[in-house]
């Protein structure tokens, strides 16, 4: 099984960095893969339209921020319809998963799950002049791994769901949400 892109959803992100349109392979890619493989990419945070991560390279910490455009307008409408249809067809889906067939379906409608690096705004706190730097590329590989583990994250990034998204476990309340003032009641 490949380290990156085991599912159709993660594979889309791997393809975005290893773009086949480019004739000469990016020489930074092996290093980026190695960073991701060796857990150098930590605290990956995946929010609607934004990916942030910290990358540790030779003892130095670099902060990576990648802005990714959300699906809008007609694209969003079509995507929502395809997603809804697919979820209705796969009722027994395990939490966090999405069918690979949906990824293919989106692609065949011309809707990109991933965004090629030249269509993103990426920043990194390193001093390298090569852009995107190896840390930004490594963050993409780490993203592909996270998405493989939890395909639903691919949608979080491009099309945040307003409803039907189960938040947390109803049996437990996050400590940050406990009202300290009302702790002992009236």
């Amino acid at each position: 099984m490949p380290d990156f892109g085991a599912t159709g959803w993660g594979r889309a992100w791997v393809r975005a960095v290893e773009s086949t349109a480019v004739t000469t392979p990016n020489p930074l890619l092996p290093k980026a893969r190695s960073l991701a493989r060796n857990d150098a990419v930590t605290t990956v945070d995946i929010a609607p339209g934004r990916l942030t991560a910290e990358v540790v390279d030779r003892g130095r910490h670099h902060r990576v921020t990648i802005d990714i455009p959300l699906w809008t307008g007609q694209v969003r409408l079509v995507a929502d319809r395809l997603v809804a249809r697919s979820l209705a067809e796969h009722r027994g889906l395990a939490p966090g998963d999405l069918p690979d067939a949906l990824a293919a379906d989106l692609a065949s409608h011309g809707i990109d799950i991933a965004v090629p690096t030249d269509a993103q705004t990426a920043t990194c706190t390193c001093a390298s002049r090569r852009r995107p730097c190896s840390h930004v590329l490594a963050t993409h590989y780490a993203l592909a791994q996270r998405v493989d583990e939890q395909p639903a994250l691919a949608l979080t990034l491009r099309a945040p769901r307003r409803t039907g998204h189960r938040q947390g476990d109803p049996d437990w309340i996050d400590l940050r949400e406990v009202d300290a003032a009302a702790f002992y009641g009236g």
Binding site: M1, D3, A6, T7, R37, D39, G92, L93, A94, P95, G96, D97, Q145, R146, D148, E149, Q150, P151, D169, P170, D171, W172, I173, D174, L175, R176, V178, D179, A180, A181, A182, F183, Y184, G185, G186
Partner: protein, 622 residues
């Protein structure tokens, strides 16, 4: 931290008790039961936030807490809102709508932390569990269970009953020795109504008799039928609530089991279902049952797909298809130790799996102490070791399946050399004219083990010694019989009949004149053995998977054991055994359910990396 000036109460499901805390002197003022003193981890307010802290409490078991809470006055300046809320809950008892009450429960009443200490139980969850616990305790009383389950066992039975009521399934994965069987019997005995279907228990053949006995002993009112052997037969109509006990080998092919509709199906030692392609796993998944419970102390022995396979029987679909499970979880966790995938898997499995370790639940269980005994190589061992490594790499290890085979053979050779040159060289003790060749002085580990065991025997203590090799067991047997004097030291291995093994175990447990050391082959000492008389366990050689060693250790460390158990692990420094010891450390550090095929991982390394793992560390020679 502002300490409350009124008495507080928090329901602690794991203790099957209400914890009273705050100004504890008020317990007396209100005629509340004394309970037992303890410390709980709760979240309490501090500086406008809530934080985990240790809180001194008095734990009152539900059986006494419920009537005491009911008897409290409806209003009192000394009683906090949390106490009054639990009073209301106790008055609602088993029926009534907890929904309205949930709004009245202040956080103090449900301040129990999760394992990660990042969240507290919700009011509704606390109330639901409270009512389940109260209902379970009274159901157990009504069925006349002839045992007093410990608080965590009542919690386990309540959990199982909630699953069964929903018609779901789950895995009871408590540590070995915590009484999973009793909890399952508690479930089956309390699910018995005239309109209910019979229950099915599937277990290894060797445990069928044990199950029948235990059900008759603990739940004598529950009808039970043993369904095994060639002349087995089910009655035309199996009465409601009857427990049918059968074996995995019968389940594999039996038609009658498949045609019957069951209420609850229990799969004991569910590792038997770890291979999803096996006929027995397919037969288990094909049974028609309202609820399905798997019991195992080791839900994952080697590969994560084992967990998938067991949950495929109890909770089909919850982990997705097998191929998808490999992509999302097994691959990321086993290949690259993904912490995020492990955390997600734990979260997904969590609601369907109840696992308590001994250290969590059995405060009265004597402690288990681990010691690592570092050993050195003799010159003879060092020479054999270096030769074996050099020869293997000079010949070449190849690739693919052939590589795996050669790496495995090399690993086995190195482990044997660490054990004793005589094991590696296949010396059977009848060495030509000189008779038996002396065993002492040729293996640092062997000498150390014999010294230690002689010392243990001198102290009047008893020890179990585990090895994975029959030949090594024979060598130890020979030497220990010689050193300790008296009767030959017994060796329990797979070649002995069941009756013979039973006699060895019985003698070790009860006979004062029996040798104080029992040698066991790690694999033959599977389940069902109870060797609590030992106060020392020695692991002579290392198993790749720590779970297997712990299962062996637990032969001695069970409820009923009175003394502290010391577990000695022998490790030859600078060798493959050192590598295994490090591997065990990282495995324990990883999430509970996560394991990995270590030998395959070594075979996947490049020659250079593998050589650096296996070559003899020069500091190791005596």
């Amino acid at each position: 931290m502002p300490w409350p000036d009124r008495l507080q109460a928090t329901f602690v499901p794991a203790e099957h008790a209400v914890a009273f805390w705050g100004p504890l002197d008020l317990v007396h003022a209100h005629d509340l039961p004394e309970g037992r003193p303890g410390t709980c981890r709760f979240a309490l307010p501090a500086d406008g936030r809530v934080e985990p802290v240790d809180v001194p409490v008095r734990l009152v078991d539900l059986d006494t807490a419920v009537p005491a809470l009911r008897a409290l006055p409806a209003r009192s300046a000394a009683l906090g809102a949390s106490v009054l809320a639990w009073r209301a809950a106790a008055r609602l008892a088993e029926d009534g709508d907890p929904g309205e009450l949930a709004a009245r429960l202040p956080p103090a009443a449900h301040a129990v932390l999760n394992a990660e200490e990042t969240a507290i139980m919700s009011a509704r969850a606390a109330l639901t569990r409270f009512h389940q616990a109260v209902a379970t305790a009274s159901a157990l009383r009504a069925t006349g269970l002839r045992a007093t389950p410990r608080p965590y066992q009542v919690r386990g039975i309540a959990w199982l009953r909630a699953l069964a009521a929903e018609g779901g399934g789950g895995v009871l994965a408590d540590d070995m020795g915590l009484g999973k069987t009793l909890q399952a019997i508690g479930l089956l005995a309390t699910r018995r109504h005239p309109d209910q279907r019979p229950h099915l228990v599937v277990c290894p053949t060797s445990l069928v008799g044990n199950w029948l006995r235990e059900i008759q002993r603990f739940a004598p009112d529950t009808p039970v039928i043993g369904y095994h052997g060639a002349r087995r037969a089910l009655p035309e109509h199996v009465a409601a609530g009857t427990v049918v006990v059968t074996s995995y080998s019968v389940l594999r092919t039996d038609q009658a089991l498949r045609q019957q509709h069951w209420d609850t199906a229990v799969f004991d030692e569910a590792q038997q279902l770890k291979n999803p392609d096996a006929q027995v796993s397919r037969a288990a998944a094909g049974l028609t049952a309202h609820a399905r419970i798997a019991m195992t102390g080791t839900p994952v022995e080697n590969r994560l797909t084992e967990l998938w396979s067991i949950l495929h029987v109890t909770n089909p679909g919850v982990l997705g298809s097998r191929a998808r499970f490999r992509q999302r979880f097994a691959g990321p966790i086993e290949q690259r130790r993904s912490a995020t995938a492990a955390a997600r898997l734990n979260a997904l499995v969590g609601p369907h799996l109840l696992r308590r370790t001994k250290s969590e639940v059995a405060a009265d269980l004597p402690a288990k102490q681990h010691t690592t005994v570092a050993c050195t190589l003799t010159a003879e061992q060092a020479r054999l070791y270096t030769d074996a490594v050099d020869r293997a790499f000079a010949t070449g290890l190849g690739s693919g399946i052939a590589r795996r085979g050669r790496v495995l053979a090399l690993l086995t050779a190195l482990k044997q050399i660490c054990n004793h040159p005589a094991q590696y060289l296949g010396e059977n003790g009848e060495n030509g004219e000189n008779g038996e060749r002396e065993l002492v002085g040729r293996s640092g580990k062997f000498d150390r083990a014999v010294e230690m065991l002689a010392e243990i025997a001198d102290q009047g203590d008893r020890a179990l010694v585990f090895t994975q090799y029959r030949a090594m067991g024979e060598l130890l047997c020979r030497q220990l019989t010689d050193t300790l004097g008296g009767d030959p030291v017994p060796f329990l291995h797979g070649g002995l009949s069941l009756a013979r093994r039973d006699r060895l175990v019985h003698a070790f447990q009860t006979d004062d004149t029996a040798p104080p050391v029992l040698l066991l082959s790690l694999r033959a000492a599977g389940f069902g053995l109870n060797l609590t008389r030992a106060s020392h366990v020695v692991h002579y050689d290392r198993w790749w998977n720590p779970a297997v060693e712990e299962q062996a250790t637990d032969r001695a460390h069970r409820i009923g054991q009175q003394r502290t158990l010391t577990v000695h692990t022998l490790v030859t420094g600078g060798t493959i055994e050192d590598h295994i010891a490090r591997l065990h450390q990282t495995k324990r550090a990883l999430a509970d359910v996560v394991s990995r095929d270590a030998e395959a991982a070594l075979a996947d390394l490049s020659d250079a990396d593998l050589h650096s793992v296996l070559e003899l560390n020069p500091g190791a020679i005596a």
